[in-house]
Amino acid sequence: MSTADERTPVLEVFGVTKTFPGVVANEDVDFTLHQGEIHCLLGENGAGKSTLMNVVFGLYQPDQGTIKVRGEQVQMEGVHDAIDHGIGMVHQHFQLIPVFTVAENVILGDELTNGPFLDLKEARRRIREIEEKYGLAVDPDIKVGDLSVGEQQRVELVKALFREADILILDEPTAVLTPGEVDDFFGVVRSLVDQGKSIIFITHKLREVLAVADRITVLRGGKVAGTADPKTATQQSLANLMVGRDVVFQVEKGEAKPGEPVLRIKNLAVEDDRGVQTVNGFSVEVRAGEIFGIAGVEGNGQRELVEAVTGMRHNVGGTVEILGINATKLPPRKITELGTAHIPEDRNKHGLVGSYTIADNLVLNRYHHESFARRWIRDHHAIHKEAESLVKQYDVRTPAVQVPVNTLSGGNQQKVIVARELTGEVEVLFVSQPTRGLDVGSIEFIHNQIIALRDRGAAVLLVSAELDEILSLSDRIGVLYRGRLVGTFEGKEATREQLGYLMATGATPESEQAS
């Protein structure tokens, strides 16, 4: 602690308050970044991390409070001011143009010119210089669309460095990376710091915070909940600080009692929207009363796989058998009526109709059932009653069931979906990224619901990009690589390292032949 304090502060935020209509996103936040440190900003979704950083980056004007850069008070009127003060930000969603080359993307908005023409030659030279200095190898002439996600992230970093940023804000930088890429990324971050850069690292992943941070600030409900030293902090202590209460980390889970196979997928082949076959001979059998987790780097066919088995997407080959019935070509409603439920990957796109009330969302796939409609006439009273009871049962925090669902927090929105899907006779559950972007409390709740469903004898096919989630929930784990299973493990025997390697390469270290 004392060594950090002796360093010079490069960025100081005093008493920043930022409100949006009805929400206090930041309240009297103090934050200091020292020269050459990695300062982790930790907090649940909605804790105000992004708002604070957007204030620093000039995207929002604070209601109150001051910002000092290198001891000098500054007024950030816009992003350009932030860039002029040497602040760079790498957003969670990359701001790159896929059809432009790396060099073109880097100079975009800050074009080097030679008369009326772009000076790409000079740009390339400077990009190479930056890449060498910080160990960020990317070919400046390659089109960004052809790069991997990890490489695209490096381009974002180069972009910031090209503008001579020495304070770098990284917003959830590891969310899209494989475990292997995360380690490489940490290496890059370290080398940036060694070269004198100062870094704010936003995340909600505790493991990463402990691995990379020099200092930690935890936000909760828009306020600073505390600061911590990674040398003495533990995941448990950080989680408690984040949530404000004791968190049970390990999911309480009894032995699985698997029964008959109820979901049989054979040689499934599915194309994505562009017509590329992303699921390629996928086969699996899931038994009643077990959770089969599918691990894999995003974009290896997870989305198309789940959409195909739930009837939302046509498959181009193979068969799906659910509860002994051939469900290969059935539409979504028929598949639901077999006794399945589906918690979709994208809750705003698929799971909810944002402007509908909670009540209507809770019956989104059952509005036509006898209990909610007499012939064609909807029974608003019955829907309301059902909603009230589900909201209570699933602990959805809301003033009323008649408020639009998009006024709820992410965690409560997901609870609405879980409540809808897990009600009734569910024998097979398809669940995709069930806790993405949720707070620790909601994650706990949703995990317990999934396990309870398993214990009632349902088969669960779980797809998640979070290895921790896969490891803590699954009874068996399969690794999806380029649209097929490349390995299956017993849940208890699998390790992060094994899975991570398989996810990244599609092969175990011993059998390099397979691809």
């Binding site: 739930t310 939302m312 539409p331 979504p332 409603r333 639901t336 589906h342 979709p344 796109k349 698929h350 799971g351 909810l352 109709v353 944002g354 402007s355 509908y356 209507d360 989104l364 796939n365 509005y367 036509h368 409609a373 064609w376 006439i377 909807r378 608003h380 639009p404």
Partner: protein
């Protein structure tokens, strides 16, 4: 000093407005009402620039609209077809579709209604059957003409805006040919001085309510009943729920097991049916024959009225009456104040402009922002499913 004075004025105005709004629960109507006020103010400035006293002009306009019982009946009569075309637009909006094709659907519906109305056996059919048959014929004509772009959208992804524009042309020129052609003689009444179909059977004529210009007939009750029916369907039935769900989020609809393509096809077809029904009621009640020119712009004005009514079937009734009355009253303004009928057209266009770009109205009248209704999203979003 002046700043604080302005603020105080603003505050008291805001308080006054809030009291009215609360008393009448006008919140959702505020933007349309202000848009109308604003358009008339700008129209007044326009009239003043021409050198006419805008109050004189507007007074003549108001008397033209509602100055006598005959004029009121005429204004109402003028409004009836707009109800149908606005319903066509509104229902499609609810399903997330932009049906530009009401114009063509009116023509096809009007033609089929007139054609069926001239069938020989209709003269022996009592009115209680003949009238519904003619109305149904128009409804089916519009249904088919709306079903085509719906089917194209569902099967091939062809955007309904493009296909309905094309179908408008096909309908316009097709109908014109059918009605104009003398050799071969198809549907033209050769005894008439203008190209039109033959007179429909007397038994198929909707009873008249007032001998105004144009005459007011029972069609107004038919169209108002349809408004309430659609309101009920949207609000209370599973089909209405499915339609609105598809309009708000087709992805979630697909996920929830709704057959999105079926809804798209049905929404377009029913949308066309509303237009077709409106045309049939005009053919049966007003003209007793079909003449293509009488339907010009009714479909396009339906876009404006549906937006003004925010796609609410009940709100369409007053919005249509406002629209039709303005057009009915404009000639008196021209006669007495020498202000062209086109000024009313310009005011109407501005109303639509301000409703669509409601940020202008909100800024000028210092209204708090609210989550925009779905209608704007439907009107501005051109992305397919």
């Amino acid at each position: 000093m002046t700043g604080s004075g302005n603020n105080r004025l603003d505050r008291s105005l805001a308080g006054f407005r809030q009291r009215i709004v609360d008393a009448w629960s006008l919140q959702p109507l505020l933007v349309p009402i202000y848009a109308i006020i604003l358009s008339f103010i700008i129209g007044g400035v326009l009239i003043a620039i021409i050198g006419v006293n805008p109050f004189d002009a507007y007074w003549a306009l108001v008397r033209g609209m509602f100055g006598s019982s005959d004029r009121i009946a005429g204004s109402l009569a003028r409004s009836v077809p707009f109800i149908g075309s606005a319903l066509a637009l509104a229902f499609a909006f609810k399903a997330g579709l932009f049906n530009i094709g009401a114009e063509g659907q009116l023509l096809v519906g009007g033609l089929t209604a007139a054609w069926v109305g001239t069938w020989a056996w209709m003269t022996d059919t009592p009115g209680i059957f003949a009238i519904p048959i003619v109305l149904l014929a128009g409804l089916i004509g519009g249904f088919v003409w709306g079903w085509i772009p719906g089917e194209l959208r569902a099967r091939t992804g062809a955007h309904e805006v493009i296909s309905t524009i094309m179908l408008n042309s096909i309908a316009l020129f097709g109908v014109r040919w059918l009605v104009n052609s003398r050799d071969p003689l198809i549907l033209r009444d050769t005894t008439a001085s203008v190209p039109r179909t033959q007179q429909i059977s007397d038994t198929a004529i909707l009873p008249e309510l007032a001998d105004s210009n144009p005459n007011l007939h029972m069609g107004i009750f038919v169209m108002i009943a349809v408004c309430f029916l659609l309101w009920f369907v949207l609000r209370r039935t599973t089909f209405g729920f499915e339609t609105i769900t598809v309009g708000l989020n087709p992805h979630a609809s697909h996920y929830a097991g709704i057959n999105v393509n079926r809804i798209i096809v049905m929404a377009m077809a029913l949308s066309g049916a509303f237009a077709g029904l409106a045309a049939a009621s005009e053919v049966s009640g007003t003209n007793q024959f079909f003449q293509p020119g009488t339907f010009a712009f009714i479909g396009f004005d339906g876009i404006a009225i549906a937006l003004l009514a925010r796609a609410n079937p009940i709100a369409i009734i007053p919005a249509s009456i406002l629209w039709g009355s303005l057009l009915a009253g404009a000639p008196l303004m021209q006669q007495e104040a020498d202000v062209s009928i086109d000024v009313v057209r310009i005011i109407q266009a501005m109303v639509l402009l301000f409703v669509a770009a409601d940020a202008i109205v909100r800024y000028l009248f210092r209204m708090r922002g609210e989550a925009g209704p779905h209608i704007e999203a439907a009107a501005t979003g051109w992305s397919g499913p």
